[in-house]
Amino acid sequence: MMAVGFTLSFLGCVLLSLSMKRHYAQVNKHRRLSKRISIVFRVLAYLCLFACGAVCIQRYGVGVGLVWWWGLLTLTALLQTLLVAYWPQWLRVP
């Protein structure tokens, strides 16, 4: 169950960072981030992140669910930060 939560959270972090000019440029070196793609990524990102929250709360109730949610957000955001800093080529989509 928490594998689903982890995946949603991680996906959300990836999309959120790619919606920012700075990180898009790190990953796709010679392409410019268009406004439309940025918005699409950002909306999808928030959907994923909040879906993760919903999954956690549904599984564990509000109190413990929120703890899971923020714990997963922390972990996946950390992973995404390392990913985009050291291995941006893995996020490249042709």
Binding site: M2, S17, M20, G63, V67, W68, G71, L75, A77
Partner: protein, 529 residues
């Protein structure tokens, strides 16, 4: 103050962090370890016999048997049961003379087990707010003050960080100051809900030494007893009547508990005023995956009648808020994956403090190199940083080494283990004063790599619960400890090699070429502090 709002908040952030940084780092490291305190306890007492399916009701009766047969004139006694994460069946008591004692029992036979005396993970966790070698009250004041500084540092940090959302995933390695700032930001912002919660709830835990006295007095005057009585109904704690009465065998009460709750989750049984007419027996359980407080059923110890069920009345909103905050801090409700997330957040917090201290030193060092003179305060902080950030983990590893290497029956074993920790830390704090700073970091990292990497080997040489055995038996507590030690050792090794690679590429000066390096050598021009 000094210019704009942001500038004064920057000043406040720097100074509140700098003044108590080392103490806060200690609190975060020992606190993070505290999330695995019972697991560390088990590793440090490998002789313990696990419960493995022994029935709770049976264990309570075995404990009762031990007390009635072995201890004379018992006034009160309690059993801690191996339920949930707790591995030990422990019986503790106090007799009418005020003498107290404690024994660990075999959960299957009820006979005492010879287990090495150790402070274990519990002691590491308690040092988190009690420190050590200090009177309790003094330690609580110090940690409260540190926690308050932490709160200020967090709030001012948020205010000062201009692009907090844009920078969330930003890490630019190999850029000196910029990289350190990025890491500091990441360690602070990513677990920010955790940091805010842990700091505020920590302040609440220690409130008894700080804010509570005045605020309680403001409404209750000198009658604090009424406040405590109204806050938590303490039905179990009553004065003895002075008349003796035959205590009821626990088996009757156990049956009632089984009917109301089921007996599997009961973690603690406490008997008070044993042999007196006002005897009380309370059964407590702690529900995991739940942010509520411990639940207790209190019975009359002579008649077996249920006197109080703590779950009967819904607590007020204020009480619920306190309970939730404290439960969040302790994380006792958390299952093991969530506990690892807690541990991660705590370690990131320790990293936040460490990188903050390092960032301050790196900035000042850059300025000192330009001006050709180093402030004595800077050299002191640089040495303190290395000795604290790497030295404390080394000292904790030494604590674990001492646990394995000290003879099992040596006197004052607990105190000797702790002494080893603090002696090691003192050495790692003094060491950087005699070495160039960059060299000191590298050497301490080598030492940390050895201290943690070799720990599983020490374990294998001194006990049978080494990694090969514990993996084969599926004993994930023991195996997890050894594996985590290896992981820490590997990380320290990687960091040491990285520093050496940078040095040999000439990016970093580690020899005494720069005249402003060591503390012992006299700097060219030391400015007055």
């Amino acid at each position: 103050m000094n210019g704009t709002f942001r500038q004064s908040m920057n000043w406040l952030h720097t100074w509140s962090g700098l003044l108590v940084g080392s103490l806060l780092y200690f609190m975060f490291v020992t606190g993070s370890l505290g999330y695995f305190d019972t697991e560390i306890d088990r590793w440090m007492q490998p002789e313990v016999v696990l419960a493995d399916g022994a029935e709770v009701s049976n264990m309570v009766l075995l404990a009762e048997q031990y007390i009635t047969q072995q201890v004379a004139n018992v006034e009160s006694w309690r059993v801690a049961l191996p339920v949930g994460r707790e591995p030990l069946l422990t019986v503790s008591w106090r007799d009418t003379q005020g003498v107290s004692g404690e024994t660990i029992l075999n959960p299957h036979t009820g006979l005492p087990v010879a287990v090495r005396k150790t402070g274990g993970g519990q002691l590491l966790y308690m040092m988190h707010w009690q420190l050590h070698y200090l009177p309790n009250q003094v330690a609580r004041w110090l940690t409260s003050i540190a926690a308050m500084f932490m709160l200020i540092a967090l709030i001012t940090g948020i205010v000062v960080h201009k692009k907090i959302f844009k920078d969330i995933f930003t890490f630019r390695p190999n850029k000196k100051q910029r990289s350190w700032l990025d890491v500091h930001n990441i360690f602070s912002v990513l677990p920010l809900p955790f940091h805010l919660m842990i700091t505020y709830s920590g302040l609440l835990f220690l409130a008894g030494s700080t804010m509570m006295p005045a605020i309680i007095t403001g409404s209750y005057g000198t009658d604090w007893q009424s406040y405590f009585d109204e806050r938590s109904t303490r039905f179990a704690i009553v004065e003895p009547a002075g008349k003796s009465a035959a205590p009821l065998p626990l088996v009757t009460v156990i049956n009632d508990v089984e009917q109301r709750w089921g007996i599997e989750n009961v973690g603690r049984v406490i008997v008070r005023n044993n042999g007196d007419r006002n005897a009380r027996v309370s059964f407590s359980r702690f529900l995991s995956d739940d942010l509520k407080a411990r639940e207790t059923l209190t019975y009359d110890g002579i008649s077996g009648e249920l006197l109080h069920d703590s779950t009967a009345k819904k607590p007020s909103l204020a009480t619920q808020t306190s309970t939730v905050l404290l439960a969040l801090h302790e994380g006792l409700f958390a299952s093991w994956p969530l506990r690892w997330l807690y541990f991660l957040s705590g370690i990131l917090g320790a990293g936040m403090i460490a990188t903050g201290l390092i960032l301050w030193a790196v900035k000042r060092r850059a300025k000192a190199e330009r001006l050709g003179k180093a402030h004595r305060g800077l050299v002191f902080v640089e040495g303190l940083n290395a000795g604290t950030v790497i030295g404390l983990p080394i000292a904790i590893a030494v604590y674990f080494w001492a646990n394995r290497l000290l003879a099992i029956n040596v006197a004052d074993r607990e105190e000797k283990e702790v002494a080893a920790l603090f002696i090691a830390w003192a050495i790692t704090l003094i060491y950087p004063m005699f070495r160039p700073v960059k060299g000191a970091w590298r050497e301490l990292l080598w030492l940390a790599a050895a201290a943690y990497g070799l720990l599983p080997i020490v374990n294998a040489l001194t006990t049978e619960h080494h990694l090969a055995n514990s993996l084969a038996q599926g004993d994930w507590v023991m195996a997890g400890f050894d594996l985590t030690a290896l992981a820490f050792g590997a990380t320290a090794l990687r960091a040491a090699c990285y520093l050496r690679a940078r040095e040999s590429r000439g990016l970093v000066k580690s020899s005494g070429k720069s005249k402003v390096e060591t503390l012992v050598a006299v700097p060219i021009k030391a400015t007055a502090p």
